[in-house]
């Protein structure tokens, strides 16, 4: 009495095919797992029998052994409930072995035999397609995400009973409805709604064009959050590979339930009380991607940057540098992609009104210093654009011109990105922001007069080596936006206007 079906376990973002064998033999009624089952799989022991019986199927009152192969791979997640139940049904002759061949099964079971929404189904489908399987059976709620993979038959079943019916040919699934737009698209949001703040809008455009990280410093009410929310609307539309990778991360985190691929770039704005594990990913047995990974190919917005836990902020350095996160726990280590554009916002001082026109800041100097020191130098070094956003007066708001729409800006951004892609094909970088300092200095061609301006700026503004590189990188992006081959003095001047977020930063640097 032996049955065998295929399931998929998801480690990190990748799905791995698992062969689930069931053997029903003599002995006291029991259910035993072998083959490195994780905690969630062990849980299945108590779930599967009620689920099978509730579906009107028979549970053998004999000794059942379930083996998960390969034995050296740790099996995680509740998605193995369905293949385990299916293997048992094959072993007891309630399903035919030849009908299950070529299918992979995934899904968590309830005690009533329902198939519950399960994280990582997109990864399951990708793994099944890569292994050349004909189809996958997944919970009904996850059918849209699995349906994104071409050449794979996807069936969404509401309960275990339908799965058996499908294999017998007595049940056929309904046609898959096309997915609804993902809620990541803030449909109503557009850059055209921002009044005034031309310089901040421009900084967003530069950030989008060169992939630069951005820090906005300003008093409450200056419009930092409003601006940040509009950055995804001017980023180039994601390619299919980008959309797939971002969707896979969302799927693993269980955020894609009921939806198809992400159609726009993600915008993640975690609250400042978030833990390091929440930001970078973690978990003790089941690894879950953090906000940094969920923002992949999109924007990670950290409002009130100085309020975040210091260790969480420090830990962001790895993804900012490598575009990935490695989560290591006792149970093993897992790698998640995490390549995002960081947009951070901060108040200029603890009370928020330092340098404001109308409200007096009462923070003593040393408190302001302490406050700014919370932002570590290494993190700031990875932020190319820093901008002070003024709180506009009513008159300034009323007098301001409306700006361009997001679509307008996005066209320029896409053209600028294209220039960078062709230029940097040899360096494996996609945009100016990802170019290492030495290469920036070697490869950036300066127009007449730019060198001279740069030399004056280094002296008068006390530019550090890194500040110098940042100015070149940003200047390069501004030149790309104009379609210029060389960085002209005006490009560099604009780049230098994005060099400090906090007033007096340079004075402090000079004094120290």
């Amino acid at each position: 009495m032996y049955g065998r079906v295929l399931g998929v376990t998801v480690l990190g973002v990748g799905g791995h095919l698992v062969t689930v064998e069931a053997f029903v033999g003599r002995g006291l009624p029991s259910l035993t797992f072998t083959g490195l089952p994780g905690a969630a799989v062990q849980d299945a022991r108590e779930r599967i029998r009620p689920a099978v019986e509730h579906a009107g199927l028979e549970w053998p009152l004999r000794r059942v052994v379930v083996n998960l192969a390969p034995g050296n791979l740790r099996k995680e997640g509740p998605g193995l409930d369905l293949p385990i139940a299916a293997a048992l049904l094959v072993a007891t002759g309630q399903m035919k072995e030849r009908t299950v061949a070529g299918w992979a099964f995934a899904g968590e079971l309830s005690l009533k035999g329902e198939l519950l929404p399960t994280p990582g189904v997109l990864s399951v489908a990708i793994a099944a397609a890569r292994a050349g399987l004909a189809g996958v059976v997944v919970p009904e709620a996850n059918v849209l995400e699995a349906a994104q993979i071409d050449g794979l038959r996807v069936v969404g079943a509401p309960t275990l009973r339908e799965v058996v019916g499908l294999m017998k040919g007595s049940w056929s699934p309904p046609a898959i409805e096309p997915g609804t737009a993902s809620p990541e698209v803030d449909a109503g949001v557009d850059l055209v709604e921002v009044r005034g703040q031309q310089q901040a809008r421009r900084a967003l455009e530069v950030a989008a064009a060169g992939g630069h990280n951005l820090l906005m410093v300003g008093s409450p009410g200056a419009g930092k959050t409003m601006l940040a929310r509009r950055l995804p609307t001017i980023l180039p539309a994601p390619t299919r590979e980008e959309a797939l990778e971002a969707s896979q991360l969302h799927s693993v985190a269980g955020l894609l339930t009921g939806r198809g691929l992400l159609r726009s770039r993600p915008f993640r704005a975690p609250h400042h009380s978030i833990s390091t594990a929440g930001l970078l990913g973690g978990g003790t047995t089941v690894f879950r991607p953090g906000e940094a990974s969920l923002a992949t190919h999109g924007v990670l917005f950290l409002d009130e940057l100085t309020e975040f836990r210091r260790d969480a902020i420090e830990a962001l350095r790895q993804p900012l540098e490598d575009g990935r996160v490695i989560v290591t726990r006792a149970a093993g280590s897992v790698e998640f992609p995490a390549r995002f554009t960081l947009v951070a916002a901060a108040n200029p001082c603890p009370c928020g009104y330092h340098g404001d026109q109308r409200r007096h800041c009462r923070c003593p100097d040393h408190r302001i210093q302490q406050y700014r020191q919370k932002l570590s130098g290494p993190l700031l070094d990875r932020i190319d654009l820093r901008l002070r956003v003024p709180r506009l007066t009513k008159d300034e708001l009323m007098g301001a011109d409306g700006g361009e729409s997001s679509a307008c800006v996005r066209d320029r951004v896409e053209a600028a990105r294209e220039r960078q892609r062709t230029r940097y094909a040899a360096f494996g970088a996609l945009c100016n922001a990802h170019l290492p300092g030495p290469i920036v200095r070697r490869e950036t061609r300066l127009g007449p007069g730019t060198e001279d301006l740069l030399a004056r700026a280094v002296d008068a503004l006390a530019l550090t080596g890194r500040g110098f590189d940042r100015a070149l990188r940003v200047g390069r992006t501004i030149a790309d936006l104009e379609g210029a081959d060389r960085v002209a003095p005006s490009h560099l001047a604009e780049a230098l206007s994005y060099r400090t977020g906090f007033d007096g930063e340079e004075d402090l640097a000079r004094a120290g």
Partner: protein, 372 residues
């Protein structure tokens, strides 16, 4: 005896003369409960520092806490502390005691600890006071006032606190010139600590004074008392920036009591930091627009700065359009230039030191176009 019946100043030779008298004064300087006014009344009753101290010890004057405290203070230790930081003790009316302080009617200090360069008769001093949390513009105005005054040979007096105090001291040091820091803490205490480096520089060329013996920590209630010495030492007092209810107001009241000239630097009527200076101007203080006005009013001659050189056309346009602190995009509109050209011009002006960015806006610096 009512305060008004007390004669002016302190009894002749109070705390001076022999070592016993000096030690008694050192103990009195360490008391924290009794105010200078009350002590002065006791002093006139008793006649000398040692008898004053005896009165406190016997319970005829001061509080029980004063008595207990007086028993614990070791004058030899205080003296050792003074010697350790190379401080001298000045007594009222004694050698080196600045006569200007005798103008303080109710509470001239009976003693003063001094480090650095001693006071000299006939030297000109001007006090600069203002907010600790000042704006970038206020900092620059105070720095410039300090620099120009010191450059003209006037000694700059201020309180060694953050903000305007610090900027005016630093301006005087940059001249280079002399400056006097009046501490609200012990004579050897660097407070705020981040200004320790500045105090060292002041000591090298100028003067640090305090009413408090070594190691007395800075407590806010000492600061108003410190302000009377700041006002007393100077012939004129300049208020740069101050929000309502600030310490600057106390300094001004002392200066008015003393009959000193009070000057105020105006700011925008909407700025909270301009509250005190604008109120003072309305009450009759002399409005100054900067160091030139102040030096003129003080009757100090100065030579005008070099005329401004020509600016490139776009920078001139931008500078002309820059009338009040304004974001770059609004400035671009006013100047009729593109944002990119405006930013280029602004960087040029910034490199020339004519413009600065503050709070996401741009504003002119004090320097006349091209000068300095």
């Amino acid at each position: 005896m009512r305060v008004d019946d007390v004669p002016r100043g302190w009894p002749p030779g109070f705390g001076a003369g022999d070592e016993r008298e000096r030690d008694a004064l050192l103990v009195l300087s360490s008391l924290q409960g009794i105010t200078p006014r009350r002590l002065r009344r006791v002093a006139w009753d008793e006649g000398s520092a040692s008898r004053c101290l005896a009165a406190i010890r016997e319970g005829r004057a001061g509080s029980r806490l004063d008595r207990e405290y007086a028993d614990r203070v070791d004058p030899a230790a205080v003296w050792a502390g003074l010697e350790a930081c190379d401080a001298t003790l000045l007594t009222y009316g004694g050698p080196g005691y600045p006569v200007e302080l005798e103008d303080l009617q109710h509470d001239p200090p009976a003693w003063l600890f001094l480090r650095g360069r001693p006071f000299e008769a006939g030297e000109q001093r001007v006090a600069i006071v203002g907010s600790r949390s000042c704006s970038a513009l206020g900092r620059e105005v105070a720095h410039d006032l300090g620099r120009r005054l010191a450059g003209a040979g006037v000694h700059v007096v201020s309180g060694a606190a953050h903000g305007i105090d610090e900027a005016s001291h630093r301006g005087a040091l940059a001249a280079p010139g002399r400056t006097v820091a009046v501490l609200g803490a012990g004579i050897d205490v660097a407070y705020p600590r981040s200004n320790a480096e500045m105090l060292d520089r002041i000591l090298a060329s100028g003067t640090v004074v305090s009413e408090y013996p070594p190691a007395v920590p800075a407590v806010p209630r000492n600061f108003p008392a410190r302000n009377r010495i700041v006002a007393g030492l100077a012939r004129a007092l300049v208020v740069v920036e101050g929000a309502g209810k600030s310490g600057s107001r106390i300094s001004v009241d002392h200066a008015l009591d003393l009959g000193r000239d009070v000057f105020a630097v105006p700011g925008p009527v909407t700025s909270p930091l301009a509250e005190v200076p604008l109120a003072l101007i309305r009450e009759g203080a002399t409005m100054i627009r900067g160091a030139d006005d102040l030096l003129d009013d003080l009757g100090i001659t100065w030579s005008p700065l070099a005329p401004p050189p020509e600016l490139p056309a776009q920078e001139r346009l931008v500078l002309e359009a820059l009338t009040s602190p304004i974001p770059a995009d609004a400035l671009a509109r006013d100047a009729g230039l593109s944002l990119s050209d405006t930013l280029t011009a602004l960087l040029g002006l910034e490199l020339r030191g004519l413009v600065r960015g503050a709070g996401g806006r741009f504003e002119r610096t004090l320097r006349p176009a091209g000068g300095g």
